[in-house]
Amino acid sequence: MLGPLTLLLGCQFVGEVLVRALGAPLPGPVVGLLILLAILTVRDGPDPELRSVSDTLLRYLALLFVPAGVGIVTQLDVLGRNWLAVAVAVLVSTALGLVVTGLVMQRLAGRSA
């Protein structure tokens, strides 16, 4: 368990360093994700230990969002003042995103489903 955890944190660390060194507008962990993806491609897949640690982390992914979500208490009045703008923006943009992605993919992917 220690090996895979070190690998994950190492990728994140290198990602954070790269983002800052290059001034890239990307979150460090996303660059870390790409680094790990490159490593996995070279190695031809994760070893069982890495797979089990990442499965465990991702199984509890929902829990990891909770502290940030609770942060809504600090934003209640901002949200209260702008609830209509937020509601319309979320509803319309989600609908547009779904339709555009679906139509472009269906058109380009061809008929063989």
């Binding site: 994950l8 460090g28 829990l63 990891l64 502290p67």
Partner: protein, 238 residues
């Protein structure tokens, strides 16, 4: 007795124990409750746990900063968890290779439209810049969305809430909307769900169609990277 209790509470407020314990207890309680409720996205353990903790903080008058002393230990794991998304992405690489010509344009178009229209609508309806910027990464999985929001000057906490609302919306409207737009290909429906509605839509799709679920899972990771690149450029317009 009362004085002792107050002293104990004052002590606990200075340690991470209270916030960390409350988070774990609330989440496990919410998991038990949601398993007994109808399978609707709103009854996920995550929104339920957040609701319970928010009410708890408001009722006891505990500041968020005190709670976060413990909460930060849970949140820290979002970094390595984001990196770990590479493992399921790697498992789906053969899908990417086979239809890369369609997947990338579809996700880029969907990501740009979702982020751009959310910012434009909120801006037009008079929302402050902080809200507009926090809405930009709303279609992306939460750890990436929070990182993007922080990067462009939004509020990570607001972004997390908008991501949640977006996922719930996508789950609610995807099926009728896809019928209306005549998108029948499951690869396209899955990619649309994952791009516009991240993990919540993916979890929902997995219960309906396996191909749809696989493409949705693929879309989460790719859209995270695509949006992380696109949004800072789009944000300059606002």
């Amino acid at each position: 007795m009362n004085g002792q209790f107050t002293a104990l509470f004052v002590y606990l407020q200075t340690t991470p124990l209270l916030g960390l314990g409350a988070t774990l207890v609330a989440f496990q309680g919410a998991s038990v409750v949601s398993a007994r409720l109808p399978r609707i996205a709103l009854f996920n353990p995550m929104p339920l746990a957040i609701l319970v903790l928010v009410v708890l903080l408001l009722v006891t008058g505990t500041p968020y900063s005190v709670y976060f002393q413990g909460g930060q230990y849970v949140q820290f794991l979002l970094g390595p968890a984001t990196v770990a998304l590479a493992v399921p992405m790697h498992a789906n690489l053969h899908h990417i290779r086979r239809s890369a010509h369609a997947i990338l344009p579809a996700i880029v178009a969907g990501a740009a439209v979702a982020a751009g229209s959310a910012m434009a609508i909120a801006h037009a309806l008079g929302a402050p810049r902080e809200i507009v910027l926090s809405l930009a990464p709303k279609s992306v999985t939460t750890p990436i969305a929070m990182g993007i929001a922080e990067q462009i000057g939004g509020q990570p906490a607001l972004a997390a809430v908008f991501v949640l609302l977006t996922g719930l919306t996508a789950v609610a409207i995807a099926a009728p909307l896809m019928r209306l737009a005549r998108v029948r290909d499951w690869r396209a429906q899955g990619l649309a769900g994952g791009t516009a509605g991240h993990g919540l839509a993916t979890a929902h799709l997995l219960t309906i169609n396996e191909t749809g679920g696989a493409f949705a899972g693929l879309a989460i990771g790719i859209n995270g990277v695509v949006t992380a690149v696109l949004v800072p450029l789009l944000a300059r317009l606002f």
